[in-house]
Symmetry: none
Subunit: 249 residues, 2 copies
DNA sequence: GTACAAAATGCAAACTCCTGCAACTTTGAT
DNA sequence: ATCAAAGTTGCAGGAGTTTGCATTTTGTAC
């Protein structure tokens, strides 16, 4: 049995029983007590448990500050973003809108890529902060608290001064006639500015957004270079979109 | 056998058995252990499995969408911020710097207060997004990833245009002679701008920051209106500071 | 304190891993 | 067809890791 497996076994037993005893573990795992002790010390050093005389105890969750973002239909979104990764390469300047699809995208960006990314979404900025090779610029402004994005004139102003290679834009709704449309007026304005500042426009969304409509227009379908959904590019549901000549991943 | 085939074989076996052992794979595939190791390292780099000593494990945890901020000495900081809450009242315009003390402060702001808050710290903005009565403006700029704050000229520019009633400023170091000092030059500049834009300046910090010094000056002690620590205001350790006439909570 | 279990330390044997290298294969260009 | 460049593989040797045992130290209970 691999050491890493033993560690999982120990942690699992610990979570189930709140404590583990060195001698019991030695029997369970058919190992010398010395090795078990070494394992426990190692886990203790990683602060995954608390070593005590005779065994180890479960560590109480740190009262640290955590932020959760709920992502619906995550598997579909993973499928989408994996396709979109092919659009990335070193030294691009990128603008990313908010939305959970873009958040999942941020998580899947390969660590080695050297990118400059502008975003006005807090969760995406949090995520991208973990990448050492990404130059990250957060666009400030008045917070729209529900969506965790900044909006308003400040955002537009910053966006108008950027010249990006590519922008990744979430979609509330899309259809062949009206193109991209948004629920909120202010978000629609910001997205227009994104598009104006980017050489290439990519929109990623799940197929349930297809053929729906919202009050505020963002752009015609023709203004998008590429759309990415979880569907196969040859799927019947995309036929109308294929006819417009737009690239589909 | 082609490398790609081996990789599928490894992944298949891994999915079936949760783990693979280097030596077994070498026999299975009739290859040297070195090559198997190279394969495993390659798959590890692609994040398809987790290489461990002796073999490799299945990756199961999907990337999480929770963001943690570890707060040290949280009880002390709670004590500090509870004292500082008395400085708040409806309709104030506030600037908050980054730092975990300010983050704890954000957590303890009473929900009913009607405030306008400017901040350039992501975790604080995340926290404050949960308050319906707070008008929140996030100041954008280049991200300093380690501290989760924005810095640079953009931040200074926005700050210079604000006229705030009060600012809450974290402290890396403070002493009677040099006043507030900072590790990073850029953060020190931002804090200067905060102070210039605020009628009243409050600094909150734990007592271990007292009588320490960092390379970059922020302001003289006299420019602060109030300091807040977890100590009793009459504590001996604050005597030198009391003599300067600064208000101590 | 004493007795005894548990833990830490030092050590050797076995095992695993990495690096550089040479032999070999594949790819693509001429 | 020929050749160079790039990629792949196995091997040798050295470095690093893991494990159980013997020995010493520490902790707990009485």
């Amino acid at each position: 049995m691999l050491k890493a497996q033993r560690h999982s076994y120990i942690m699992e037993k610990l979570r189930a029983e709140q404590k583990v005893v060195t001698t019991d573990l030695a029997i369970d795992l058919d190992l010398s007590e010395d090795t078990v002790r070494r394992d426990l010390n190692e886990l203790d050093r990683k602060k995954l448990l608390k070593k005590v005389y005779g065994g180890a105890l479960l560590i109480k969750e740190r009262p640290s500050h955590t932020y959760n973002v709920y992502i619906s239909a995550e598997e579909k979104k993973e499928k989408i973003v994996k396709k979109a990764l092919s659009l990335l390469h070193d030294d691009q300047v990128i603008i990313m809108s908010g939305g959970t699809t873009n958040l999942v995208f941020a998580k899947f960006i390969p660590e080695h890529l050297r990118l400059t990314i502008y975003t006005y979404s807090l969760p995406i900025a949090m995520q991208l902060s973990q990448y050492p090779n990404i130059e990250l610029i957060l666009i400030g402004g008045k917070m729209q608290k529900s969506a965790m994005v900044t909006i308003g004139i400040d955002v537009i102003q910053v966006l108008s001064k950027i010249q990006a290679d590519i922008c990744f834009i979430g979609a509330s709704s899309i259809n062949v006639k009206q193109g991209l449309t948004e629920v909120g007026y202010e978000v629609s304005v910001v997205k227009k500015a994104m598009i104006a500042s980017s050489d290439k426009v990519v929109s990623m969304f799940t197929s349930n957004k297809l053929n729906t409509k919202m009050p505020h227009g963002v752009c015609e379908l023709q203004e998008l270079d590429t759309i990415v959904t979880e569907l196969d590019p040859d799927d019947d549901r995309l036929e109308k979109y294929r006819k417009t000549g737009i690239k589909i991943l």
